[in-house]
């Protein structure tokens, strides 16, 4: 009885009595969700265009952030370092297309999935070899990102909002909007959608798969860089960030592998759900439920919609 009370009533009473805490938790969940969504966005871009479940997205985030910080540490001005990192991500996309995707064209999905694992190992080894494994501080100030926080009075309490979080939310929205425009309005975007629909049909109307793949991997490299900067500004840049890729997976299945808005909405649902769960129900189970709570949320949604909230309907034919 007591347990039932603790599960079903007490958390809501807490929410009612301290609405400022609730808003604070919601806000933190929202921010975390936006960042998850950014990673999921990288996954979705690649999955849509090449059907590859890119496990290396998490390590690409770390790699991009490390390159940026490393270049800055070697005396390159911040914005030049940013441009150079974008260049590095482009080279990475070229290399991946040439040495991994092209030889593996037309292989089953699981083989490509495994290949991105190989890629993960390479990037981990390479990154540690060049930049070292110790955590580094993201050059947020030099990139003119705001720091400090706003404190908003609300419901007789305070809600604290980090400026960097607001910036992250804004950047994420801009990024999603520009990607949406890119996909819908430009020539390349149309080619990307064609490839996503059918590789063979796209090839037959003269779209170069190689070219498209370089572009999507490059685009998700840029998304990775943005994610890396934002996460790096909140904590440090280290290989521990790699695990955020695993955090993005429930977002992905919740939103659907093929939907960009799904990634965003899924991210927000997971982020908010996770923080609320950890804050209100966490003490009941002992802490650390954040690790799997997101998966449970995603699983529950999946049981009702097996293709995720916004995924393309799975049609099976004999």
């Amino acid at each position: 009885m007591h347990l039932l009370y603790m599960i079903f009533i007490d958390p809501f009473v807490q929410m009612g009595t301290a609405p400022d805490l609730l808003v604070q938790t919601l806000w933190e969940g929202l921010v975390a969700g936006v960042l998850y969504a950014l990673i999921a966005l990288g996954f979705v871009l690649i999955f849509k265009a090449s059907g590859v479940f890119n496990f290396a997205q998490g390590i690409m985030v770390v790699f991009a952030a490390l390159t940026l910080v490393g270049l800055y540490a070697h005396g390159v001005p911040a914005f030049l370092a940013l441009a150079m990192t974008i260049g590095v991500m482009f080279l990475l996309a070229l290399a991946i297309e040439r040495f991994v995707l092209r030889p593996l064209v037309n292989q089953p999905d699981i083989i490509l999935f495994m290949a991105t694992f190989g890629l993960t190992y390479i990037l981990i080894g390479f990154g540690e070899l060049i930049f070292g494994g110790d955590p580094k501080v993201m050059i947020a100030d030099q990139l003119l990102l705001p720091n400090g926080s706003y404190t908003v009075k609300m419901f007789g309490g305070f809600v604290q909002m980090q400026k960097i979080d607001i910036a992250a939310a804004v950047i994420a929205s801009v990024m999603v909007a520009s990607l949406a425009v890119f996909f819908q309005k430009t020539r390349i975007g149309r080619a990307l959608r064609a490839v996503a629909d059918s590789h063979r049909a796209a090839l037959s109307v003269g779209i170069s798969l190689e070219y498209i793949w370089v572009i999507v991997w490059f685009a998700s490299g840029i998304v990775a860089l943005a994610t890396g900067i934002m996460w790096g500004a909140r904590s440090n840049v280290s290989f521990a960030l790699e695990v955020i890729a695993l955090k993005a997976l429930p977002v992905l299945i919740l939103g659907g592998f093929t939907s960009i808005p799904g990634a965003i909405i899924g991210g927000v649902i997971i982020g908010v759900g996770e923080k609320i769960g950890e804050f209100y129900w966490g003490p009941l189970f002992g802490s650390g439920i954040e690790e799997w709570f997101a998966y449970v949320i995603a699983l529950v949604f999946l049981l009702f919609r097996p293709q995720g909230l916004f995924g393309e309907r799975i049609i099976e034919r004999i």
Partner: protein
């Protein structure tokens, strides 16, 4: 020429359906078993047995388990590490509560616990497919890892949160715990792995295996010819987790000696999946090849570094190992996406037609 089945006549269905219908295979398997059971304990050093052969055998068993699920039934799972952990912790608790029962029996029994866990986490598999299912099985991995840390009952309220293996004997010889020699542990592991492989190969040749493969090839079609999807998939989850659980229990009791939740983390799941894919999906032999390759590669790389006498710091060696491993994985996938088992097939065909090209 060397591998020719011409002239080996089968006069009964039984002979035709035997596990090894070809004489070369029969001789070969006897030779391999003889080498494994007799030659290796006599000749190999303790170091080789303890740090190469035992883990490769154990990982082979885990890979076979995952192969039954992913290779034969077509359900991608990333929860292997968690299921291995269930086996290990179940075995530990059983050993605590039933000190009188032989440890080998307990190792096998612990498989049933992970089979139960497998069934529970296999429940979503009817509705969820492909990568969605893979991510769903990650949920089991994270949940189980969390349990291994947060439920102190599982490790008997040990302060270090790890499980220590007690010394147990079989026929008066210690087979677990610090006093057991590598050779006795090797023999036990080898026996269990060999018997379970035999069981698995018979399972997949029979009705159950055929229904699994039908589900893998196209589940709707399988349903149409009268295969009940749900029991079939759940059975695959159960059997696969059983194998993984036994492998996990052996990993702790017959190899590591003590373990904590870290030994059954997500990385373990990924490594086992590597073994299955590099070895060959849907091949028991491939599971052995994959385990040997993935486990052996870092050791070989380390030895090569030692032989070349390169002066690199230990940390850098680790990083270069990572890069090499990644490159080799991609290389193997490109060279033979069907896995090492396929290479073995090609090799056999070459032997068959030699000296002619076809």
């Amino acid at each position: 020429m060397f591998y020719r089945e011409a002239g080996q006549y089968k006069t009964s269905y039984q002979a035709d359906q035997a596990l090894f219908p070809i004489r070369q295979d029969q001789v070969g398997i006897i030779l391999i078993l003889a080498a494994a059971f007799i030659a290796v304990p006599l000749m190999a050093s303790d170091f080789v047995i303890d740090s190469v052969l035992i883990p490769v055998l154990i990982f082979s068993l885990a890979a076979i388990g995952l192969n039954l699920l992913t290779g034969y039934t077509g359900l991608l799972s990333l929860g292997t590490g968690g299921f291995m952990g269930v086996g290990a912790f179940a075995c530990y608790k059983l050993a605590t509560y039933f000190p009188g029962i032989n440890i080998v029996v307990l190792v096998i029994c612990s498989g049933f616990f992970s089979a139960a866990a497998g069934i529970v986490f296999g429940l979503p598999s009817l509705r969820i497919k492909g990568f969605y299912l893979a991510v769903a099985t990650l949920a089991s991995q994270f949940f189980l890892s969390w349990c291994f840390i947060r439920i102190p009952w599982l490790y008997n309220y040990n302060i270090s949160a790890s499980i220590e293996v007690p010394t147990r004997t079989l026929f008066g010889l210690p087979i677990t715990g610090p006093t057991a020699t590598p050779i006795t542990r090797y023999i036990i592991v080898l026996t269990i792995v060999a018997v379970m492989t035999l069981l698995a190969s018979n399972l997949i040749r029979g009705r159950i295996g055929r229904t699994w493969m039908a589900v893998r090839d196209m589940d709707i079609a399988a349903e149409l010819i009268g295969i009940k999807l749900y029991p079939t998939k759940l059975l695959a989850f159960a059997v696969s987790s059983f194998y993984c659980g036994v492998a996990g229990a052996m990993l702790v009791f017959l190899w590591l000696g003590n373990a904590e939740s870290e030994s059954f983390s997500i990385n373990q799941s990924f490594i086992i999946l590597f073994m299955v894919i590099i070895g060959g999906l849907g091949s028991l032999l491939g599971s052995y090849f994959g385990a040997a390759l993935i486990y052996g590669l870092p050791i070989v790389l380390r030895m090569i570094k030692g032989l070349l006498g390169l002066s690199i710091t230990a940390a850098n060696v680790e990083h270069i190992n990572f890069i090499t491993l990644g490159v080799l994985i991609i290389f193997f996938l490109i060279a033979e996406p069907n896995g090492l088992a396929r290479l073995w097939q090609i090799g056999k065909q070459k032997l068959r037609v030699w000296p002619f090209p076809y």
